[in-house]
């Protein structure tokens, strides 16, 4: 079953410029949720809900952690919610990441694509490396959380103001050369995902990507959130909310 309800916010932090981190008490959702899934949040005064990826799941305490970026007026409204207020959420939605127990993973996040990498990398702990890329140091998030989970973080910035100067794809190539992982997870801009998928394919590594698209219903009924995928050698329109947001990178038609 899907759940729709109002859940209390029990913690809120501004973690970088325009980036907010909410902890929501929702035991029924937390018990069902898996890494890679998302929630649909109602923003007061706006008609459509905002899809937000699940950053972390604490089943013991019955909480979800949602990290989002203020992109427009709707997410700005969400950023005004405070501890003690309720959040109206449909959750958990979509298909999560495939998990290979006891294997080695590299998780690649670009910008606001980084949060879903936390929950999946936690399942691998010391067997995971989390490569995160941001435009600049002021936008870097979650590096301490990866460390606390035993995951090895590698921070990249476009301008070199923190971590390694350069793209996550370069860091990914270097890591693969050191030790080939069994699976790669990635979430971020399409151009980054395309690059990660190509590297995975060249090295014969399984790769799961999480996609983003403008949504309405969030459950697979309205068919607006399309992405091009390949099925039986033919390109079709799949829907990010129900068929994804996680896809095997080989299924995705990145184009050009």
């Amino acid at each position: 079953m899907y759940t729709q309800g109002k859940y209390p916010i029990i913690a809120k932090k501004a973690i970088a410029k325009g980036m907010f981190d909410l902890t929501v008490l929702c035991p029924d959702v937390a018990s069902e949720a898996v890494p890679g899934q998302f929630v649909q949040i109602a923003a007061e005064g706006f008609f459509l809900r905002r899809p937000i990826s699940i950053c972390d799941i604490d089943k013991d305490n019955g909480t979800l952690r949602l990290v989002f970026e203020v992109r427009g007026k709707g997410t700005e409204k969400l950023s005004e919610l405070n501890v003690g207020q309720n959040i109206d959420m449909i959750a958990p939605l979509g298909k999560g990441f495939k998990v290979l127990s006891g294997k080695k993973a590299i998780c690649v996040g670009g910008g606001i694509g980084t949060p879903p990498m936390l929950s999946i990398s936690k399942l691998y702990g010391k067997n995971a490396t989390a490569i995160s890329g941001f435009r600049t140091a002021a936008l870097a998030i979650l590096q301490d959380d990866f460390k606390a989970a035993g995951v090895t973080p590698i921070l990249c910035t476009d301008d070199g103001t923190a971590g390694v100067k350069g793209f996550v794809t370069d860091a990914l190539k270097a890591e693969i050369e050191k030790e080939k992982p069994d699976i790669i997870y990635a979430c971020g801009p399409m151009v980054m995902l395309k690059g990660v998928a190509a590297i995975a394919e060249q090295n014969g590594i399984e790769c799961q990507v999480s996609l983003e698209q403008r949504m309405a219903c969030g459950v697979g009924a309205c068919l607006v959130c399309v992405c091009r995928t390949v099925r039986d050698g033919k390109e079709i329109f799949s829907h990010v909310c129900k068929d994804g947001p996680v896809f095997d990178s080989k299924e995705v038609a990145f184009g050009g």
Binding site: Y2, F47, R49, C217, V219, L223, V224, C225
Partner: protein, 303 residues
């Protein structure tokens, strides 16, 4: 407890609330929120003769109190509907309205004949989709063609036939009269209003299709006006839709002349909208001493 049942063109609905085509798929997703038997009926996703990919994304843009969509009738085709979706829907204890959209007059008739004996309770002939190049609104904006396609479907089937009208016309009453004269048993309205949004940073339309259909509470007053005008122009029943989001909206639409209502975009904001409207209608009837909800249809007293 009030009697919420309504009759539209000989088809009895347990209550007047029907999720609108394109907003509810074939019910599979929303069955994970509540039993479909709560609903008066379901108007299924627009079904075409063959599978359709639909339009490139983005297919949605938010608007004040509503949204634009440009899905473009993505669906698996009528054969998949008959073999996969319909057998499942028939077990759910609700009325099934098959929404069909042909790309030609002949194909519309063929689609209808393929539904003969299938057990669907009603056909909703879509002559108003703004997001496809063939058929769709090209049928619904011309009185003669609207009449022709209605007749082709009428000649192909005895299943109760409702024709879904486009608001993107000069005179919706003329279109309604034409489909009535050509054998429609009911009309449903309004489909979406053609609209556009532009991203001022990129100077590009938000929708890849450039334009799309506007729905949601923003269109409700337009829908009420058109339902009222059409209900006064034809003798066949009218099913009202366009921006209905509450029981009060449904009451208003029924007072304007709608025998039943469809709920669309409101479901995206609140998946429970249809059942909340049903519960709200029951409460409204009880509070207002209305024993039979159908008694309020068309009771607005114009100035």
């Amino acid at each position: 407890m009030a009697d919420l049942s309504v009759n539209v063109a000989g088809v009895q609905f347990k209550n007047p609330v029907i999720p609108a085509s394109g907003c509810f798929g074939y019910g599979r997703e929303y069955e994970r929120f509540y039993p479909l038997s709560r609903l008066g009926g379901i108007s299924v996703k627009g079904t075409t003769r063959f599978e359709r990919m639909g339009n490139e994304g983005p297919r949605v843009a938010e608007t004040p109190s509503g949204m634009l969509n440009s899905v473009g009738l993505q669906n698996g085709g009528v054969e998949k509907f008959l073999s996969y979706e319909l057998p499942n829907l028939k077990t759910k204890g609700t009325r099934i309205i098959a929404n069909i959209a042909g790309s030609t007059v002949e194909e519309s008739g063929e689609l209808a004949s393929m539904l003969n004996g299938s057990g669907v309770d009603m056909i909703e002939l879509n002559i108003s989709c703004p997001n496809v190049k063939q058929g769709g609104a090209a049928f619904g904006t011309d009185c003669t063609v609207a009449g022709q396609v209605t007749k082709a479907v009428r000649d192909a089937t005895d299943i109760p036939l409702m024709v879904k009208l486009s608001p993107n016309v000069t005179s919706i009453t003329d279109i309604a009269k034409s489909v009535e004269a050509n054998g429609a048993d009911a009309v449903s309205l309004i489909n979406t209003l053609l609209g556009m949004r532009i991203d001022i940073k990129t100077r590009r339309p938000v929708l890849k299709n450039n334009v799309g259909g506007l729905s949601g509470p923003a269109v409700f007053p337009v829908a009420v006006r058109m339902v009222w005008q059409v209900a006064n122009a034809v003798k066949i029943p009218v099913v009202g839709m366009g921006g209905i989001a509450s029981a009060e909206d449904a009451v208003e639409m029924m007072m304007a002349g709608a025998s039943a209502v469809q709920v669309g975009a409101a479901i995206f904001a609140d998946p429970f909208a249809p059942v909340k409207i049903i519960d709200g209608l029951e409460k409204w009837c009880d509070e207002n001493g209305v024993e039979r909800l159908s008694d309020i249809v068309g009771t607005v007293q114009p100035w």
